[in-house]
């Protein structure tokens, strides 16, 4: 042993600590929603496509639905849009959109250009409802059962693969079979 090896030894120890640190760092995808297993927050918001109408989440009781939080300002939402359109085609479960902190005209233009996968889109202009749902960042997608209980939450752009592996198995068999 000579003293010139000492720096290398100290660095090796540091590298180990950093490696453990990475393992422990909170990953975006693994923060579960405190809502899972609990009742989805109720809300009443104007409908984006027809602002004279209001949408009440209580109306959804008795149905499975997917609650998708998006905004035109969010790149990930654009990425997942084609997957949402595909999911719509399977008609397994209705998609409810929450247009988060957005300008209505831009959102409408988005839907007319890219296609509208949603049964209904609620306009959360101030972002208050997203806060109640505990949304960290768009896009986020929730699966809610007929009792209004949040079953699953997916963070980040939704892919068809994630849909097949994470959402479909959680649906009751007759609904999942529709694909």
């Amino acid at each position: 042993m000579n003293r010139f090896i000492l720096p290398l030894g100290i660095f090796a120890l540091l590298a180990i600590v950093l490696a453990i640190g990475i393992k422990h760092s909170p990953e975006k995808g693994t923060i579960p929603s405190p809502l899972i297993g609990k009742a989805a927050p109720q809300f009443t918001l104007p409908v984006l496509t027809d602002t004279n109408r209001t949408f009440r989440s209580a109306d959804l009781k008795g149905r499975w639905y997917v609650f998708n939080v998006w905004g035109t300002w969010c790149g990930g939402c654009r990425e997942e849009h084609s997957a949402l359109l595909e999911i719509r085609k399977t008609a397994q479960v209705p998609l409810i959109g929450l247009d988060w902190k957005d300008e209505d005209p831009q959102a409408l233009q988005w839907l007319s250009e890219l296609g509208n996968p949603y049964e209904v889109v609620a306009a959360d202009r101030e972002g208050r409802i997203a806060i109640e749902w505990g949304v960290y960042g768009a896009p986020e997608t929730f699966l809610v059962d007929p009792q209004g209980i949040v079953v699953y939450k997916y963070i980040g752009p939704l892919t068809l693969e994630a849909w097949q592996t994470q959402f479909v198995p959680r649906l009751p068999p007759q609904q999942a079979a529709k694909s």
């Binding site: 923060i31 929603s33 297993g37």
Partner: protein, 148 residues
């Protein structure tokens, strides 16, 4: 003094200086480190009375109150299992909002946390990491069969 002895004196002096500095740094470290607790830990009495610590969680929606025209503000910090009321006098950071993560420095006074500093992170997309971690832990504890 011979060159050899001079060298020895120099080396010993350096070693003594470094150890004194190390000892003082360690004691400063022990006195000045603040620990992080979430509302559940605070409610269960994990915090010694009079200890300064960091409280973190979500600001409960609708809990922010202040007497009109006063600098004193009251709000509730929650981890969705337990709540801790917080009082603070001063200017709140730009990103302080109901329903967002927050970290406050201060002490308990009775059942209220008296904060002398309130921090909200400069990015509305992410939570302060320790808050995210604590929420995750509390969530795991209450996970029911059938939940994700």
């Amino acid at each position: 003094m011979t060159p050899r002895r001079k060298r020895l004196v120099l080396v010993l002096g350096i070693i003594a200086g470094v150890s004194v500095a190390g000892a003082l740094a360690l004691s400063a470290f022990r006195q000045n480190v603040t620990f992080f607790f979430d509302p559940t830990q605070v409610t269960s009495g994990a915090v010694a009375t009079g200890e300064r610590f960091r409280l973190g969680g979500m600001v409960t929606k609708g809990s922010v109150q202040r007497a009109p025209g006063s600098l004193e503000v009251h709000f509730v910090v929650t981890d969705f299992k337990h709540d801790v009321p917080v009082s603070y006098t001063g200017v709140l950071p730009d990103l302080f909002r109901e329903g967002q993560g927050v970290v406050a420095h201060g002490k308990m006074s009775g059942t209220t946390f008296v904060a002398d500093e309130v921090l909200a992170k400069h990015d509305e997309k992410y939570m302060p990491p320790e808050v995210a971690k604590s929420l995750k832990k509390r969530q795991a504890e209450s996970a029911t069969p059938g939940g994700a």
